[in-house]
């Protein structure tokens, strides 16, 4: 077990160093770094989507909470005069609050209804943002979203976040903290209770677990992180639009689920793996224009049909050959 722990630490360390050096590796290519930023945001989105999946619920409208986070954060800075960090936190909390309210009717019903409802909700949020000219600029979109204010750092002087490179590091730090939080939550008693609910809902009720309460909290936590990702998105793009092809459309929700399944939802880092691999493939396939979604769709179908554990699952299959000798299984 400690051998595996050592390997994990090594891999994480290497990944961290790689992440820190990426801008240099990419020769400060602005476009590529912006892709990296989107990868990071998607990693958080897909990981929080997986949090919901820990309870065997599939949210098809996760982008809806990201939308709330984006617009709220932008408006908090633009209309309420908040600075970046409070705005980001507030927008995350707002997303969580909306999830708390919606959670009760949504999570009481059968699983497939939940998926449909989340899909409808995200679309509704998007349409409201699209049409409400007074609040969100309507069809014109919201423009002029400010960057986070510059901060003074010891060695680097005053860092402005108007430029992509600096924003990349900001995103990296925030995402890393959020992922750390998600990991701790999953390993905590809360995560264990979620596991119990997933593995035996009626029995959970019977041992005193308030199942619907825990499901709602799960939904709220996941939505909080979606809101944070949305906030980071808003202050990077400097403008938000809610039309069908925007980031807040149905297609993005679909992509998030695909990233999660291809990466493998049984492992904490599965979403990250899936996001990175598929985004790289998308970028590589970009010259193929209209065929690009076809490739992603095809990969998704093949993986879900023939590799139920996702890409991460492959490594477990390889490792399992040793485990078969040990009947205990261990915790």
């Amino acid at each position: 077990m400690s051998k595996k722990g050592g390997l994990n630490a090594f891999v994480l360390g290497a990944a961290a160093i790689l992440a820190l050096l990426m801008p240099a590796i990419l020769a400060h290519n602005e476009y590529l770094i912006s892709v990296l930023i989107l990868i990071l945001l998607n990693i958080l989105m897909v990981s929080s989507l997986r949090t919901i999946a820990l309870l065997r619920e599939i949210s098809l409208g996760h982008v809806g909470f990201s939308l709330i986070g984006s617009y709220a954060s932008a408006l908090f800075m633009m209309k309420c005069g908040l600075s970046f960090w409070p705005a980001m936190l507030a927008s995350g909390l707002l997303s969580a609050a909306v999830a708390l309210v919606l959670g009760y009717p949504f999570l009481r019903v059968r699983g497939i209804y939940f998926s449909i409802l989340t899909l409808l909700t995200a679309e509704t949020f998007r349409l409201v943002a699209f049409y409400w000219r007074g609040l969100t600029g309507g069809t014109m979109g919201l423009v002029g979203v400010p960057s986070p204010g510059p901060i003074a750092l010891p060695l680097l002087g005053t860092v402005s976040f108007d430029e992509t490179g600096a924003y990349y590091y900001l995103t990296l730090v925030v995402i890393a903290v959020c992922m750390g939080a998600l990991y701790l939550i999953e390993r905590s008693h809360l995560g264990f209770t979620w596991r119990a609910i997933k593995n035996g809902e009626e029995l959970s009720q019977s041992v005193g677990i308030n199942v619907i309460g825990y499901k709602i909290i799960n939904f709220a936590i996941a939505s909080f992180f979606a809101g944070i990702a949305g906030s980071l998105f808003a202050h990077y793009q400097h403008s938000l639009s809610a039309d069908f092809t925007s980031r807040f459309g149905v297609v993005t929700s679909i992509y998030l689920v695909v990233y999660m399944v291809v990466g493998g939802q049984r492992s904490f880092l599965g979403p990250a793996v899936g996001t990175i691999v598929l985004t790289v493939i998308s970028e590589w396939a970009r010259p193929m224009k209209e065929y690009q979604p076809m490739i992603i769709g095809g990969i998704a179908i093949l993986v879900v049909l023939f590799m139920p554990g996702g890409l991460v699952g492959l490594s477990h299959v390889v490792g399992r050959r040793d485990k078969r000798l040990d009947p205990g299984g261990g915790m």
Partner: protein, 277 residues
């Protein structure tokens, strides 16, 4: 076979159950309809603290339905359920567990995909008390609590005899083992009233005797009250202090198991439905 009576470490403790209360559970006029059919009709029950009560009757008499209504997984159409004076009729199941009711289901309801030890730890849910944000900074406290919970779980597993199998996946246990694990999970919730739904199905004589002695030990050492729904008459005779007979949803008679089983009306009810005696 000593059932552990105390554990510290900052985890919530029940106030110790010393003397048996006179009446721990009471139902009045409990009624449940399925479609147009009355599964349970105006059922009155008194359960005394510290007794082992058998709920018997032919198939389809409504025994499991009564148990489900007491546990909270079914809501009665009419009637009242009182637990130590508190009206719990409309309470959801998890709230009743907090008040001390635990249930062992008829089928082997276990947490799939989790080990034996994890099952009992999951059952100990009510004993783990820390908030969400504490996981970020009170790590030492949490580790200590986890250790205490683990020790407690091991004690419970030792009591039922599964302490050698903690790492096994719950569903890989043989039927008898799974039954014992279900009991362990229910015990982990630290109940004062235990509801056993046909605990002896599929068990051989040895396993039946084992469970009977376990339940009696729970009564003697911990003062746990038990309601048992069962078909196996020999077990009921051996285990129960008192028995209540249900037929077609109505209470037929009650008394000591010996009296009840020899009651001609009861025998006829059973023979009429061609049940095993």
């Amino acid at each position: 076979m000593v059932f552990p009576t105390s554990w510290g470490g900052g985890i919530r403790d029940w106030t110790p159950v010393g003397v048996c209360e006179l009446e721990i559970l009471q139902t009045r006029g409990l009624t449940k309809f399925f479609g147009g059919l009355a599964a349970v009709n105006e059922f009155d029950l008194n359960v005394n603290g510290g007794e082992i009560l058998g709920l018997i009757g032919p198939n389809g008499a409504g025994k499991t339905t009564v148990l489900s209504m007491i546990a909270g997984t079914l809501m009665p159409r009419a009637g009242r359920i009182t637990l130590e004076g508190e009206d719990i009729t409309r309470w959801p199941a998890y709230k009743r567990t907090r008040r001390g009711i635990a249930r062992v289901f008829q089928r082997n309801a276990l947490f799939q995909d989790m080990t034996v030890l994890e099952n009992v730890l999951a059952g100990s849910h009510l004993r783990a008390t820390h908030g969400l944000f504490e996981i970020f900074y009170k790590r030492a406290l949490i580790l200590r609590q986890a250790k205490v919970l683990q020790d407690r779980a091991m004690d419970i597993l030792r009591f039922v005899g599964l302490d050698k199998k903690t790492g096994q996946n719950a569903v890989s246990l043989p039927h008898g083992g799974q039954r014992l694990l279900c009991l362990a999970v229910a015990l982990a919730a630290d109940p004062r009233l235990l509801l056993l739904d046909e605990p002896f199905t599929g068990m051989n004589v040895e396993e039946v005797t084992n469970i009977i002695s376990l339940v009696k030990a729970l009564r003697d050492e911990r003062g746990i009250t038990t309601i048992v729904v069962e078909h196996n008459m020999r077990a009921v005779l051996d285990l129960c202090d008192r028995a209540v007979v249900l037929n077609y949803g109505n209470k037929m008679t009650e008394g000591t198991p010996q009296d009840v089983i020899e009651d001609p009306a009861v025998i006829e009810a059973y023979l009429g439905v061609d049940d095993a005696l």
